[in-house]
Amino acid sequence: MIPLSWYLILAAGLFCIGFYGVLARRNAIAILMSIELMLNAVNINLVAFWRFLAPESISGQAFAVIVFAVAAAEVAVGLALVISIYRSRKTVIAEEINLMKW
């Protein structure tokens, strides 16, 4: 039998890898990929909590479904923004997108 702790440690690891990617990568698309990793870590946690602690209600899975919808929307808008910025500024490096910077 697999205890809950294994899933939680895995999710924590995945989240931290995504965290590192979001803050350290320069490419905007790579940042979006890392955000996906973080969202997935959250989803693992939601489903694991549902399965181990509250299997009688279905809320964990319902939450995960909503996270899927959020992830899909986030990627669609995020990539549209990246492509739009690439068109006007010819770069996808997050640091070089500094028009609004003081």
Partner: protein
């Protein structure tokens, strides 16, 4: 060590390795392909957690749509950004340290929690979790409002993405 534990460890290490590759690969198409492996690993974990519906949706949405969209975007924004020498910004070392500290503190904090090592109780085979999930998502006592909000948000994101990514006329 039971076979199921071995399977879990294999999947978990594959997922983490692939995730690590995603954030460290220079070549973004490779990063996106590793992202596919990581996402598939998460789908396998959903199967092990007896959430088959979510596993299938994970493959359908993440691999079928999101990862492919990522690869597409990478290819559309290629050119001068290909193979830039420093793929991480100047804070990368600090961020890595913070991530490791964050991970260890999370594990230490969670280990204090009494349910940390809880074992799963078997789900009654008479239950149909898909039916339950479907009913919960559309019943007024369940999650109908979040569900509807999510659908409206998806529609808004769809239109927003179209408007943002569309080339301006006359350029």
């Amino acid at each position: 060590m039971t076979p199921i534990q071995l399977v879990f460890l294999f999947v978990a290490f594959a997922t983490l390795w692939a995730a690590f590759m995603v954030v460290t690969r220079n070549n973004l198409v490779h990063a996106a392909l590793f992202l596919v492996i990581a996402l598939f690993g998460v789908a396998v974990l959903f199967v092990m957690l007896e959430a088959g519906f979510l596993a299938v949706i994970q493959v359908l949405v993440y691999i079928g749509a999101i990862a492919i969209l990522m690869i597409f975007a990478v290819m559309l924004t290629r050119g001068d950004v290909d193979d830039i020498p420093d793929i991480t910004n100047r804070y990368a070392g600090w961020v890595g340290l913070v991530a490791v500290l964050f991970f260890s503190s999370l594990v230490i904090l969670m280990a204090q929690w009494p349910s940390f090592t809880a074992l799963a109780k078997p789900i009654l085979s008479s239950r149909d979790t898909i039916v339950e999930l479907g009913t919960a998502l559309v019943s007024p006592n369940g999650y109908v409002i979040p569900f509807e909000v999510a659908s409206v948000m998806l529609l808004a994101a769809l239109i927003g993405a179209l408007v943002v990514a569309r080339p301006r006329k006359g350029k």
